[in-house]
Symmetry: C2
Subunit: 553 residues, 2 copies
Amino acid sequence: MQDIEIAQQAKLLPIGEIAQEAGIAPEKVEPYGKFKAKITLPVAESPKKLLGKLILVTAISPTPAGEGKSTVTIGLGDALKASGKKTMIALREPSMGPVMGAKGGATGGGYAQVVPMEEINLHFTGDMHALTAAANTLAALIDNHLYQGNTLQLDPKRIVWKRALDINDRALRQVVVGLGAATNGVVREDGFEITVASELMAVLCLAVDLQDLKQRLAQILIGYTYTGEPVTVGQLGVAGALTTILKDALKPNLVQTLEHTPTLIHGGPFANIAHGCNSVLATKTSLELADYTVTEAGFGSDLGAEKFLDIKVPVLGKTPDTIVIVATVRALKMNGGVAKTDLEQENLAALQRGYANLARHLQAMANYGVPLVVAINQFASDTSAELHLLVDLCQQAGVAVEVTDVWAKGGRGAEQLAATVAKSCELNSNFQRLYQPDQTLAEKIQTVVTKIYGGDGVEYSAQALRQLTEFKARGWDQLPVCLAKTQYSFSDDPKRLGAPQDFKIHVRQLIPKLGAGFIVALTGNVLTMPGLPKTPAANQIDVNAAGQITGLY
Amino acid sequence: MQDIEIAQQAKLLPIGEIAQEAGIAPEKVEPYGKFKAKITLPVAESPKKLLGKLILVTAISPTPAGEGKSTVTIGLGDALKASGKKTMIALREPSMGPVMGAKGGATGGGYAQVVPMEEINLHFTGDMHALTAAANTLAALIDNHLYQGNTLQLDPKRIVWKRALDINDRALRQVVVGLGAATNGVVREDGFEITVASELMAVLCLAVDLQDLKQRLAQILIGYTYTGEPVTVGQLGVAGALTTILKDALKPNLVQTLEHTPTLIHGGPFANIAHGCNSVLATKTSLELADYTVTEAGFGSDLGAEKFLDIKVPVLGKTPDTIVIVATVRALKMNGGVAKTDLEQENLAALQRGYANLARHLQAMANYGVPLVVAINQFASDTSAELHLLVDLCQQAGVAVEVTDVWAKGGRGAEQLAATVAKSCELNSNFQRLYQPDQTLAEKIQTVVTKIYGGDGVEYSAQALRQLTEFKARGWDQLPVCLAKTQYSFSDDPKRLGAPQDFKIHVRQLIPKLGAGFIVALTGNVLTMPGLPKTPAANQIDVNAAGQITGLY
């Protein structure tokens, strides 16, 4: 059975019941249809301590289809709830780009899904659309400022703000706007990025309340004057309007798993080209309400988890009690050199070679002093010998490991994982920062590259070198770094799988995200606007006269 | 008090109660927050006859601020309901373009408003965003097709599909996409239009069910092959995906007036650059449920009402029982030559001159054989002498006329109008089509220009002349015409106010909208993407820490 069929056959509880189970008062619940709601914050009248246990789910380096990190997160949440503990799950919102493109949605799979699957994967409660509208409204206001006299003396050649769409659209990466009649505005080079990579998404995910949202929006850098001075949204005078557009998007969204575990899905930055974590507000709300909060960060631990720990944790004010690393036999075999088409065949040698990838991720996460657990996400094609070998390798490395079968069994497929994770959460977590705020940007990037990626060092383009100096002079080097890098390799070359040795990371450009509060470093050839494949998923998606959707996955 | 303050002080009823009053079963109601809902169609198990009376509200030629057509529509609806008749109102959805730009929202004013005002004017239930997403997804799929081998042999120079944003953004009118690396796709000239002018909006407003929506989407023309053959969405194979994206947007939205009259707000094409009417589905639903349906069409009767009668009525299958023409002393004085800054001063001579504009609108609407009523929308600055003169002029012309004061008094300010309209609805309505489907496009345009605008004839550009021949050969001349024209004048020159004589309409281009089922004729200099003013409304909009919005109007 397909994921969408399982989801469509599910019996959902009214969202009011889910809210009640989560401990959210009815007057805080704004229904969006019968099975989705936005939550008015704060959920408690007086600030609550974040006493719940925080479990961060991350993964090895993925195959293009993903390794079931969301699926394991959901199954683990269901299993913890079934064990009698008050549990909530905190996930990211899917982007319609991959839904219409290649990867599909982000609502888990099999019997470990969040529902209503189609609605979450499409418009959900409109957060992504609100971000898109805000990003493009800001761009229109900037171009209008240029056209209407340009009192801020913005240099049209140095506008850094980009337009955004929640779509994979390669043709919009590099465009020229303002062509034609004089009344069509000022001609300049411009570009669109996918909404999940927009700074607005990061701001939404890191803001702690509406006031903070407005302050962060005001701090966003939109460009430079002719004399090279930075210009912000605040100077343009439209932080209030942007906050107004994003007011409701700031409220976390509540849904349920197939097993009715309350799940907050809020914010959706990609982890390769953005910071890859769901919102601080959703995670915080869950920590206030539940004994266990299971959350995930995108792609491998080198991307989402590193950013969770170095960018999100300082704002959240709470460190994880356990980090779960999801591994699959398939992806490790691919990391061990097996072609995508041959992953269904048993290959112990390749698995053993590919284990080096998992080992590198374990090593990376060990930097933070948080207890680790490996969750093997079982696929139907995995052989018993392969699963045994992988368990053995983990045990030899001294890390807790459990095999899960959540796709086929839901929470029941993660019972042992839940027990192991619960035990792990009682161990001493001795969180250490990877780098300190007062280190230079170059030192911070160097630290991520050597300690997390296992690389030798960093090579900067001439532009990036100039920017290091410039940003230091502007006082921006106090900010954490957010490396944009391919998800397929620890290096910046997507073809170097496994645990590559002797590589440098190439930083071609730095992008100050002053509202989000970090500096993006673009590495290798990574792009902030994906493209569609030869046969996009859109060609398979359909809906019948009764409104039933097919072809969404 | 400002409109937004009145709206924020209102006591709203839960949307479930409004639905119940309208006769909509609870299981058909999908709440979006506490005071908005989408309605699952059909509301009745078996198709109902459209027995309710249909009242179409239109207006004279407006000032840039609008003449309170929505306000009168709402007040009239409230008054009809207060008179004991089951009444519903059917309006269009506001666009965020004008909300952030100049004109403000579209939720009425004073004590004749629909609420929640801020939510309706911003994201509402996401219909506009869904249309934007669908329009840009289609564009991305087209550009991807060009890039991935172009099996349809689409000529990149003859793509007619445009990207869309619900934003006033002059810089996006004319752009070049696909610049940079080869992997950024095929370079070509392109442009964005405002979402309300996109064919998708027209399709959503004219579709009678999900199946019809899909068929219409499949028929949309996206461009031509190198050999000049038309290519449609259906040929690209993505009608199913677009229907899926628009599935929920097709459901009408229910809200309430300040006096709790059930109001369907659904679809929002502008009447100057699109067909200017709310959705067929919402109007139909209202006609099934209520004794009186009060609906409006955009701008003056030359635009929205003409298109309502010639484009929407044939799909709706129901003709209006009365047409109400809203007039204001201010706008007539402006049409009589008074400067915008002097409209507050009494000027009977200018009013008398400007009455010619109302007379022309009465003449235009008289073509259809539907009983007419003039509603004078009173402003605080109107003098008693001016109001008397205007009433006299109408009475001399033999048309029913009432003065309303709905801004200050809500439904109470339209009691007499309601009585007169109710009486008018009992008169014989003898609807006649303005033109017949089998007339040529040129004949249809000529008919609109001479009978509705009062012009002498039509001048075509060389391109438009070629298109007339081409469209005839393709069999597209069976479709109705949708003239895109300035709202300020009966002519295509926005400076010729009043009732201009001796003018021709200049058609510069025809655009086939095969999914919507009409041919757009672009006249004069009208643009399908507006721009922002020197000081956009966005600069005044703000929200405080408690989430209260200010500066929205």
